[in-house]
């Protein structure tokens, strides 16, 4: 019982971490159709900003989080303004946008490395351990799970009940039709990048505390987040969260029986299965192209 609950809890924690990344990634993709792999680099950038504010500058913990989230949101907006908007104006193909996102990720990683150095940074926090159904979980891990659930609910509310959310959905569905009712798609893209990067900021702060900081921390996370999003549905935020949870559980339960070196292999086998047999993901709608 204790082992089973520990395994499931391990899977949920991993899934919550992946979903923190996947939700922002999927939101940006669903609206702008950009595979924004630099999302992982924004996460790392936010984690280092938080380290600078909270540890190096000694600012109030909550104020440091607030500053970090503001900065990461604007980092997303700047990326959209200076890179993606320029490329869209030039009618860049999705392949070009993908290459640009990978280049941005590499650039931002290099900036983080140059500014903060290569050594591992830690953010010490009070982190007691609790027993739960015979399994052990830390306070930070509980926060990660709660925050990922809260963000999912927040995004659902935002998209469903606010004017901005409706405009975002309209642009995601059909940009040209949205324009006819007076919605400015470029403005919506900027807001989307800001919200997505805000989520990357939240992920950066929490994952930085949980797993320490190193410049490449966002790379493997964005790959796992992307995998989770494909499983659930790249175009659906709830789908990406569901996919991430499934990924975390399958990986962790899988390596109970298989050697742990196969963990990534399990994730990518799952990715291939979905790409081949259900490319739209679990919650995605199959669209027949004209």
């Amino acid at each position: 019982m204790a082992i089973a609950s520990q395994l499931i809890l391990n899977g949920i924690i991993a899934g919550a971490i992946y979903s923190l990344v996947a939700s922002g990634f999927s939101l940006i993709y669903s609206v702008t159709k950009v595979m924004h792999f630099a999302h992982g680099a924004v996460l790392a950038f936010a984690a280092y900003l938080f380290y600078t504010f909270a540890v190096l500058s000694g600012l109030n913990f909550w104020f440091a989080i607030l500053l970090t989230l503001i900065c990461s949101s604007f980092a997303g907006a700047l990326m959209n303004w200076f890179i993606y908007r320029q490329l869209r104006r030039r009618k860049a193909s999705s392949a070009v946008l993908l290459i640009a996102s990978i280049a941005l990720m590499t650039l931002l990683n290099a900036v983080v490395l140059a500014v903060w150095g290569a050594d591992v940074k830690t953010v010490p926090v009070f982190n007691p351990v609790f027993d739960f159904l015979g399994a052990r979980i830390t306070f930070v891990q509980v926060v990660i799970i709660v925050v990922s659930v809260f963000l999912l609910l927040f995004l659902w509310w935002l998209m469903k009940y606010t004017k901005l959310g409706k405009a975002i959905r309209a642009v995601a569905d059909n940009k040209d039709v949205a324009m006819t009712v007076g919605i400015n798609p470029e403005r919506i893209y900027t807001y989307t990048f800001m919200i997505g990067s805000f989520l990357a900021g939240v992920a950066g702060v929490l994952i930085g505390i949980e797993q320490n900081l190193y410049p490449q921390m966002g790379i493997s996370l964005v790959i796992k987040g992307f995998t989770g999003a494909v499983i659930g549905s790249l175009a659906s935020v709830p789908g990406s969260v569901l996919g991430s949870m499934i990924l975390g559980l399958v990986e962790n339960i899988g390596i109970w029986w298989l050697p742990s070196g196969y963990k990534d292999a399990i994730a990518f086998v799952l990715l291939f299965i979905f790409l081949l047999f259900r490319p739209s993901g679990l919650l995605g709608v199959r669209v027949r192209e004209a």
């Binding site: 082992i3 924690i13 991993a14 050594d119 591992v120 052990r136 190193y214 410049p215 962790n252 963990k263």
Partner: protein, 373 residues
């Protein structure tokens, strides 16, 4: 007339300046200046810097200064190969200090060998790493040597019977865990479970849960760098495993940097066996120059200080003839350095005396060395 005089004077000035300042000897430096092994790589490079500055201040090598051409190997194969090719074909170096670690050294050795460039690798411990490459040497004894003692201490001193292994899927991690397993089994111990992970892994909770489900009295953690070892230990602490087992590790695991990264999770009983150096003067030189302690086990990084001085002596004898330098090192016996008395075998491995090894533990955030009986 005046123009001719000016030309003659200019030529004389050029010739005279050549007499005063001979061209420097380029020494390639391949170290992890960034990436996961930067803690060790930067320290290795810093020891080389100290030695080169001292050598140059003392007149260089037969009047020629040493010029360090530093490249970042990032402790990865592809990066080290790119950097080595740049040093060999663009900078035309005949000698390289580094690469900084096993993953970087293994692919560079055949390139150096093929181009007859002498290389002295730093923290490279894979068994038989350079057996086929006569131009490749290293300052670190192979994992086999120290791991032999780790198995002995685990079985004889601490009476461990059943041990699980958690190891990085790298040449470095695997060679330490394999050699430890051999020596531990030879002393009557059992390896109950062996789990490996890609070096960039950050979630070890299920691996640790698998270990916790076994009846083990020890866990051998063989990380690639402080970064992964630190997170393994942090999560072991969170899952309550550190209270139940004795931690054994390779030298990158039982280290102050790992203790910092893991939130001081390393228990006082956790141990490894390392080549040991006791040279407070050299340590002080480092602290004076860089305002910090060396970033990794002192012997392994400070060995590059000795390597630079050994290279100076080889250059004094051979000039930049790399074949002669290679033979010089092959025949070197009992060269008294600051951290060891150096001899090399036919495979480019250092041969250290048995008493050069010590058990090391971290107690109250300080290293404690014990003689192995």
């Amino acid at each position: 007339m005046n123009k001719k005089v000016l030309i003659v004077l200019a030529l004389m000035a050029v010739l005279l300046s050549g007499c005063v300042e001979k061209e420097a000897i380029k020494v390639g430096g391949l170290f992890a200046l960034t990436g996961k092994w930067a803690t060790g790589g930067v320290t290795e490079a810093n020891f080389v810097r100290i030695a080169i500055d001292e050598i140059n201040a003392a007149g260089g090598v037969n009047g020629q200064k040493l010029e360090l051409v530093l490249e970042d190997d990032k402790c990865t194969g592809p990066d080290s190969v790119t950097a080595a090719n740049k040093l060999i074909f663009q900078d035309n170096v005949k000698v390289i200090l580094g690469p900084s670690c096993t993953p970087a050294s293994l692919p560079v050795a055949p390139i150096a060998n093929e181009n007859k460039v002498f290389m002295m690798a730093a923290t490279t411990t894979a068994k038989g790493a350079f057996d086929k490459f006569e131009y490749a040497f290293r300052t670190s004894p192979p994992a086999t040597d120290a791991a032999l003692f780790i198995g002995k201490v685990a079985a004889e001193k601490y009476g461990l019977k059943n041990v699980a292994i958690i190891t990085a899927e790298t040449e470095f991690g695997q060679s330490w865990s394999d050699e430890f397993a051999k020596s531990f089994i030879a002393k009557g111990g059992n390896i109950v479970l062996k789990e490996s992970y890609p070096a960039e892994t950050t979630d070890f909770k299920t691996i640790i849960s698998k270990v916790a489900a076994k009846d083990v009295d020890g866990v051998f953690v063989s990380g690639q760098a402080p970064q992964d070892s630190g997170i393994v230990l942090k999560q072991m602490k969170e899952l309550g495993l550190l209270d139940k087992v004795r931690i054994i590790g390779n030298p990158t695991t039982i280290d102050l940097e790992v203790n910092r990264i893991s939130g001081n999770a390393l228990p006082a009983g956790a141990f490894t066996v390392v080549a040991y150096a006791d040279n407070p003067q050299l340590l002080q030189k480092y602290v004076n120059r860089f305002n910090e302690q060396p970033g990794f086990q002192f012997f392994y990084t400070a060995a590059m200080y000795d390597a630079t001085y050994m290279l100076r002596d080889a250059l004094l004898v051979c000039g930049e003839n790399s074949e002669c330098i290679k033979d010089y090192f092959t025949n070197l016996r009992d060269w008294q350095g600051t951290v060891a008395k150096w001899s090399f075998n036919a495979f480019g491995d250092p041969v250290l005396a048995e008493d050069a090894y010590r058990e090391v533990r971290i107690v109250n955030n300080e290293k404690v060395y014990d003689i192995i009986s």
